[in-house]
Symmetry: C2
Subunit: 174 residues, 2 copies
Amino acid sequence: MHRTSFAEMHCSIGQSLERVGEWWTPLIVRDIYLGLHRFDDIAENLGISRNLLTRRFDTLVADGIVERRVYQQRPLRHEYHLTAAGQELVPVLMALMAWGDKWATPAGGPPVRLEHDECGQQFTPEVCCSACGKPVTADAVTALSGPGAAAGPGTTVLARRHDLPAYRPGTPTV
Amino acid sequence: MHRTSFAEMHCSIGQSLERVGEWWTPLIVRDIYLGLHRFDDIAENLGISRNLLTRRFDTLVADGIVERRVYQQRPLRHEYHLTAAGQELVPVLMALMAWGDKWATPAGGPPVRLEHDECGQQFTPEVCCSACGKPVTADAVTALSGPGAAAGPGTTVLARRHDLPAYRPGTPTV
C-alpha cells in the first residue's frame, strides 16, 4: 500500500505519526506494554496477518521503538520489548485511551483502569503543563514557532501565515 | 482502501484510533487547532488530495470531532471547527508532539513551542496522574481490567490471560 510519507514534515506530530501512526502500530505497542512479547501472541491477540505484523515490527525496530531480544537459540526465537522511546510513548497512548474512555466509550464501560504505583490511586491520565503542573486545555495554550519551524510539506499555509522562512529541500536548517 | 475496523474492540485506544487513527487525520485536527478552518487552506497546507480530505472530513464530522459551520450562503461555504471532543483531543496531540520533539526531532529542532496562557510559561506537555499530579511513566502504572473488559477482536489473548469473560458479538455487556 502506498501512502504519503510525513518524513519531510517540519512537525513533530508528523514525525511521530511517521513512526507510530500506521494502522495497527499503536495497538502493537499497547500489547507489548500489556505483557505480550511474542510474535504469535500479538498476532493472535490482534487478529492481524503475520505478513503485516512482520512489516510493522520491522518498522518499529528500525525506528528504535521496539527491540528484538533472543529468548531461545535453537531454533532462534525472539521476543519484542519496548525501548526507552517505546516506553515513553505509553503515557501518550494512555492519554489517548482516556480520550476514548470519555468520547468513544466501548460497550460496558472503560475496558482498562489504570493504577499509579507511586500514589496507589486509580487515575485518569491528564496532559499537564510541565511549568505549573495544571492540566492543559486546547484553548489555554498558544502555539509559537520553534527553532525548527519552516515551510514545507504539511506546513505550507501555516508557514506563510506565520511568516516563516521557506524550506528548501536539502538545505540544512541551522 | 480496505482496512480492518477497530470498532468492535473492547479497547479505548482501538476506539480512539477508529475515529482519529487514520493516516492524515491527526494532522487535519492539528491544522484546525492552529487556525486553518477552510477546506482549501487545509488541502494546500497538507498537500492532500481533495477527495481524500473530503472523506476524512466526512468521518470526522460523523464521529463528532469536527463540525461544519456555514460562513457564506451564496454560494454555500463551510468552515471546519473542532467540537468539544475535538478540542479535548488536542492535548493528546500535544503529548505526541512532545514525544516527537524528543525522539524524532525534525531538522532544526522543535518546530513548535507551547506557551501555557494560565501560567505564562513555555512548557512541555506531560501525561500526569489525576490523583497525585505527578507525571506517569509506563513502568509505574498497573493496568487493571475495567468494567468493559472482555475477550474479542484485539483482546483475545489478553482476555485469556486475565481470565475475562468471552465476548459474544451481539450480546449486550451490562
